[in-house]
Symmetry: C2
Subunit: 403 residues, 2 copies
Amino acid sequence: MTDIDFAVLGTGGIGRRTLEVSQHKEGLTPVAACDRNGIAIDRGGLDVEELLDATEGNIASGPQSGPEQSSSAELRSADSRAAKPRDDGDQPRDGDDRGDTDGSNAATDGGAAADAAASAADAAASSGVKQTGEGAGVVASEQGEPTETPIDDVIEISDAVDAVLIALPNLEHDFIPNIADRFAEAAYSGVLIDVLKRSRVIGMLDERADQLEDAGITFVCGAGATPGFLTGAAALAVQSFVEVHEVDIWWGVGLKSGYEDNRGTVREDIAHLDGYDVETARDLSDEEIEEIIEAHDGVLEFHDMEHADDVLLERAGICDAEDVTVGGILDVRSDEKPTTTTVSVTGTTFDGERATNTFELGDETSMAANVNGPALGYLKAAVRRNRAGEHGVFGPAELMPSF
Amino acid sequence: MTDIDFAVLGTGGIGRRTLEVSQHKEGLTPVAACDRNGIAIDRGGLDVEELLDATEGNIASGPQSGPEQSSSAELRSADSRAAKPRDDGDQPRDGDDRGDTDGSNAATDGGAAADAAASAADAAASSGVKQTGEGAGVVASEQGEPTETPIDDVIEISDAVDAVLIALPNLEHDFIPNIADRFAEAAYSGVLIDVLKRSRVIGMLDERADQLEDAGITFVCGAGATPGFLTGAAALAVQSFVEVHEVDIWWGVGLKSGYEDNRGTVREDIAHLDGYDVETARDLSDEEIEEIIEAHDGVLEFHDMEHADDVLLERAGICDAEDVTVGGILDVRSDEKPTTTTVSVTGTTFDGERATNTFELGDETSMAANVNGPALGYLKAAVRRNRAGEHGVFGPAELMPSF
């Protein structure tokens, strides 16, 4: 396989760590990275170390209250597309109740490895945790240039790019789908990959499957830890069986040292606790959140979370979405995982035995390791598919041996 | 994905169970199956139940001592190619010491799920365990016709076939590679897939990669349980890491009820015990084997077995072959697994943590379930690759997200 040149949209937690992990991988060259205010491009390969050093603790973001008040014309223009009527008459293939209700707790579903890492970017970008004023973010790097149109700038050089990792904060539901539209309209024909968690967004990408396929784009959605790594593990574990009864994904995250960066995740997680929902969690003050955490001694446990693993396993033909359960434990006062991240797949073999196959992640693996490694693994697999002419929308489980 | 029509070469343990498992899978239609003396073809789909019922305990095979004395002109003609000089000047890409030494214990490496099941075919076919004389095997089915050229017969209808599962007994090292040659020369352009275990054979297939690629064949080698299922699990488990230190594959097989069918495996397994090798094991009488089993109370434990998992993980760029260890326990007096089949992958994350990710198969999953499900899963994935224009030789780990 020849080399892969890729771009990263967003330099929050996932974007930065992906750039870092790519330095350990053969054949992966980051050629562009952008945030709201700046872009760094080097077709020969970015100096990742310089970029990370220059932007450490220095992530460009909008003001406290999020995109509506954002000063970024680029993000506003992306957002504004959400209000426009869609050009085609397609109905969401996944527009069922699950998709809708899931949308409500969509932004992070917090706690799981992918969530926490994704929300590190959120927290940084939408709460301005790390903002340091003028010159923040990519423009602080020697390689960075200021821009008001970072995504357009990446699109402009996309003929030199094999894959684009979308590591942007969770904004409107259709933010990532709209970015897909823009790449498709610009005749980009490589890979787009995200680490989203929202079932609803996957439905919205499915609406665009034909358009993406026509453009020659291979879009892989939900390719972080969960969904992503653990969805793939489930897709492999079912191979012993002819019928799958239950897929149980259970995660542990210890977040003491990452807590400051992941306040957004914790807020979203609270929406999954009894007595809360996304709206009430969104309205909580920081003090109220601290009180809730205090009341739980820093350990939040979640059951029956809505996660796109269900939709992604169903679309791969492995089981019904309702047979998938996701839960876990988040400890914000320890870096030790409070429980072992485990995928348990129960099924029946062709010879009539009921059994459970399991996949466990070592407790020492950080959420970041379990997001960024798989994201790049799926990215490489997707580039191969793309080059072979397989275009459209894919979930991680569809990049595995078929069930 | 549209339907897949496939053929099975060999109706020993793997062939028969693959036909059975395919009945549980959507979009898989078996259209041909053959053994030494007969072939059943139905382009609309074989009546698998009738075929299995008619051939149960009734597998066509040659005489006790193997292909040299075989009455089958077809197998002899395939074998005879082994002695012919190769047409091209390619050197084996994998022709190192490992390949050579591995070849010596190549035939089954016994005990592991794939091995035992593969050797069920061996035992039936080369020891004649189930031979019942005239009319044995496929010809006993209403759908069967006698033939002296079963493989040629399948080649003849191969335009109607998307994939061919090679579930033939372990004969000469180059038996399967020679079959690949024949399909390539006949301008077949679909999938070939086997469940072999010999590192040496993979090197021999690699020698043919260009020829297979030119023909448009996608050859997936070693796609049973181990190598295969467990190799894939290792390839996924490494995604947390930037460096892989060790892959440890440890299997348990309880074979009480399958013992009669798997004498060949047990013989091969004995070659891995201290004081034995392939040659001495081959020369043991059945009585001597029983004595050895008796001396071990029916439980044979193996360490540092040579298995193609190592070569297949190395060729996928995951780790060095020498970092892979394979061992396990075979209990011929119980159907309970004497130990849990486990893949342990130890590596270091990008953030410097050393950890071990594990994949465990439920003890109730039979070796057959863990061979045939993955074989068909890889077959389906391979057809997709084939249709997208990806041709040549692939290991299971190469059908996973890339490392």
